[in-house]
């Protein structure tokens, strides 16, 4: 690390102008090679700085191109940590079900009751998957089909009575989850593969931006704990970006890399094609069987119209009891039954995902008719184990409440890191054009009085607003729509999504109007204020439309329900506070230069108030 002779603060104050001046011959020229981000260094004095500069360029543009998409992926992915809770909250009909301890032996009776109810409803069911209720999801959700290879239907049941629960049509938290890895736009998926490819490219760029960012950050250890929100302007934004980036870096690297790895078979099929050559082309079935630690023949290949014999009557109780003994009292996560390739009916018992880090828990196979134990399926090879651990880290099914909130906080910090990075791009450019404008101003005073940012910068500013403020708005509207849309509307789940995308689209139109067409400071505060209002009103809307509001859930100590309402309220207040800080007419106190600057130019590019980044600690 180079040791700076001057006080770091002084350097920070000067940084923006210095960078602009570095290209010009004169006083600062000696500084230029040392500034990694100086725009035009004539000659790199050594390779390291040249490399760093190249990385800086890469970081800037890799970050910018898909940064907005990344922000959306990161934020919805973060919300997905609470997918079960969203699923529950958005189906108030499920209120009153008692969360179950998956270690409770009673689970076996619950499973049997649910299965009986399913068989009564669908006598010739050929396959079913039943995740058992646990402390996060109190209902029994059965996926079933009575075809050979058709779509699964879902049935929700009361764990004690086995009665079907009639819930409203909604995607619930699954929408955030689906959107974050395949950009799902409708309940029945469309363009799923294309969406996964787009997300994959964005994730790859995220990975590039992370690594190049570490290289670019010159003072990574010196500035490790440094955050100076009062310094104002670019310095505060850069500090916020660095702090949110560096402190939680292990999480970002893990989540990005594992995110790429989860879809490795889609992104990099060449390895499978080489190693799993069968007689009839690539035998990817064998590969996936290996990945899951199963025998290749256990999963039959069937066409959608193939006839399959219905399952026989199954006595689950003894099977589940034996599974528990074999696992030394370990928790049972789910049970399923199907016919294997030979036509034999088998029951597969899966251990609870919270019992270990590695994803895809061990499974026990039983003969469905006799209840005889057949086999244990569990991936044991080092490569598959490594993959399973990465997968498990990404899904965080192992996390208890405290850990889950911590990971959620990391996700928010990551979103903030991306957001501050995007804003920084604008701040930097507007600071630069300022210095240039004021230098030109001597020659042409009229021109300097109303500098107008180039179209590209205004466009970036607009999309910044549309994404960074528009997405929280859209999420709030989506959750509100869950309570506001009448229950009997045709295709209700898709109508909710229509609300989501309309709100986002409106935010984009607003942003284009405010940043590109006619720059004004309203750009940020209005959508943020609307988002704050939407989130803060959620508990109110909830109280007006359901019985699962704070008035009943708080006294009853139902923290899963009450916690959601309280978190919505907190989000609303936070967004509202941001909007208030960025309201028009409030002179930014941080940087004198920015305050003196003509309103039009700064307004379009940035919410000049540096204190916004204070929220990093609140996350």
């Amino acid at each position: 690390m180079n040791t700076t002779t001057q006080a770091p603060d002084a350097a920070a104050e000067r940084a923006p102008t210095e960078r602009a001046a570095a290209a010009a011959p004169g006083g600062m020229a000696a500084e230029a090679p040392r500034k990694a981000k100086a725009p035009k260094t004539p000659k790199a004095p050594n390779d390291r700085e040249g490399f760093r500069q190249a990385m800086s360029w890469l970081h800037t543009w890799a970050g910018l191109i898909l940064g907005w998409l990344l922000f959306a992926i990161f934020l919805t992915g973060t919300l997905s940590f609470f997918r079960s809770e969203f699923n529950l909250w958005m189906r108030p009909e499920m209120h009153g079900l008692q969360p179950m301890d998956a270690a409770d032996p009673q689970v076996a009776q619950t499973a049997q009751k649910a299965l009986d109810a399913l068989v009564r409803k669908v006598p010739d069911v050929t396959q079913w998957i039943m995740p058992l209720p646990d402390d996060r999801d109190p209902a029994v959700n059965i996926l079933w089909r009575d075809t050979g290879n058709g779509r699964f239907e879902t049935l929700r049941m009361h764990p004690q009575t086995g009665e079907a629960i009639d819930t409203r049509q909604t995607m619930g938290g699954d929408f955030f989850y689906r959107f974050h890895f395949e950009l799902r736009t409708a309940q029945k998926g469309r363009w799923a593969i294309e969406g996964r490819w787009v997300v994959g490219v964005a994730t790859m760029l995220m990975f590039v931006a992370l690594i190049s960012g570490v290289i670019t950050h010159r003072r990574i250890f010196k500035d490790f704990f440094t955050f100076r929100p009062t310094k104002g302007g670019q310095r505060a934004w850069l500090d916020a970006h660095n702090v949110t980036g560096v402190l939680v870096l292990p999480f970002y690297l893990m989540i990005t890399f594992s995110g790429l790895m989860i879809f490795h078979s889609l992104y990099m099929p060449a390895g499978i094609a080489t190693a799993y050559k069968g007689e009839k082309g690539v035998d990817s079935n064998a590969y996936f069987a290996d990945l899951q630690g199963e025998k290749a023949e256990s999963r039959p290949r069937r066409g959608a119209t193939d006839k399959v014999e219905p399952l026989p009557a199954i006595a689950l109780h003894s099977i589940l009891t034996e599974a528990r003994t074999r696992w030394d009292g370990g928790r049972i996560g789910s049970v399923q039954a199907r016919r294997d390739a030979k036509g034999r009916a088998v029951v597969e018992v899966t251990r609870h995902e919270g019992d270990r880090l590695q994803y895809r828990p061990p499974r026990l196979l039983f003969d469905a008719t006799t209840g005889q134990w057949l086999d244990q399926a569990d991936a044991t090879s080092p490569a598959v184990k490594t993959y399973g651990v990465l997968y498990g880290l990404h899904m965080a099914r192992f996390a208890d409440t405290g850990l889950r909130w911590a990971l959620f906080g990391f996700g928010l910090l990551g979103s903030l890191m991306i957001a501050t990075g995007m804003v920084l791009w604008s701040v930097k450019r507007s600071a630069k054009s300022h210095t240039q404008a004021s230098r030109k101003g001597a020659a042409n005073a009229a021109d300097a009085a109303t500098p107008r940012a180039p179209f590209g910068e205004r466009l970036v500013a607009a999309i910044n607003i549309a994404t960074l403020a528009g997405l929280p708005l859209a999420c709030g509207v989506y959750i509100a729509s869950n309570r506001l849309i009448p229950l009997n509307v045709e295709g209700r789940a898709d109508v909710e999504l229509a609300w989501f995308f309309s709100a986002w689209g409106l935010a984009l139109l607003w942003a284009l109007a405010c940043a590109v067409v006619r720059p004004s400071r309203m750009g940020w505060s209005v959508p943020l204020g609307a988002a704050g209002l939407a989130w803060a009103l959620l508990p109110v809307i909830n109280a007006l439309t359901t019985h699962t509001h704070l008035g009943t859930t708080l006294p009853a100590g139902e923290w899963v329900w009450a916690g959601m309402d309280l978190a919505f309220l907190a989000t609303g207040l936070l967004l509202g506070w941001l909007s208030w800080r960025l309201r028009p007419g409030r002179a930014p106190k941080g940087k004198a230069a920015a305050a003196k600057a003509p309103r039009t130019s700064t307004a379009a590019a940035l919410p000049t108030t540096p204190d916004v980044s204070v929220s990093t600690s609140g996350a």
Binding site: K222, F225, T226, F227, L247, V248, R356, L403, F410, S617
Partner: protein, 110 residues
């Protein structure tokens, strides 16, 4: 929990071992030797907390313990950054409290 508290103490020691934060916290410049000692203490505390996390009590697999430690590591770093930013004077006291509480929490099996 103990991992978080110990990491907090460790990161605080490291922050206090840096010129700028040492001055913010104590009001005077620290001697180079003292700063180095503080930084070393910080590293040792981090290693200690990792070792403790790798030997969790109550049948929890070590893999989960270490994962929780990695999370605690980042949370503590964020907490220390917040402390040196807004409460620099209280950093040494908080670090001491965190160290004692962390050891107590570990002894209680938290």
């Amino acid at each position: 929990m103990s991992a978080f508290l110990l990491c907090f103490a460790a990161w605080s020691a490291m922050a206090l071992g840096m010129d700028r934060h040492h001055e913010d916290a104590t009001g005077r410049e620290g001697a180079a030797r003292r700063l180095q000692q503080l930084r070393r203490t910080g590293w040792l505390l981090l290693l200690l907390s990792l070792w403790l996390a790798a030997h969790p009590a109550g049948g929890v697999p070590a893999s989960l313990g270490v994962t929780a430690w990695a999370v605690a590591l980042s949370v503590a770093a964020v907490a220390v950054t917040a402390t040196v930013t807004w409460q620099p004077r209280r950093t040494p006291v908080l670090a001491g409290v965190a160290l004692v509480a962390g050891l107590a929490a570990w002894a209680w099996g938290w």
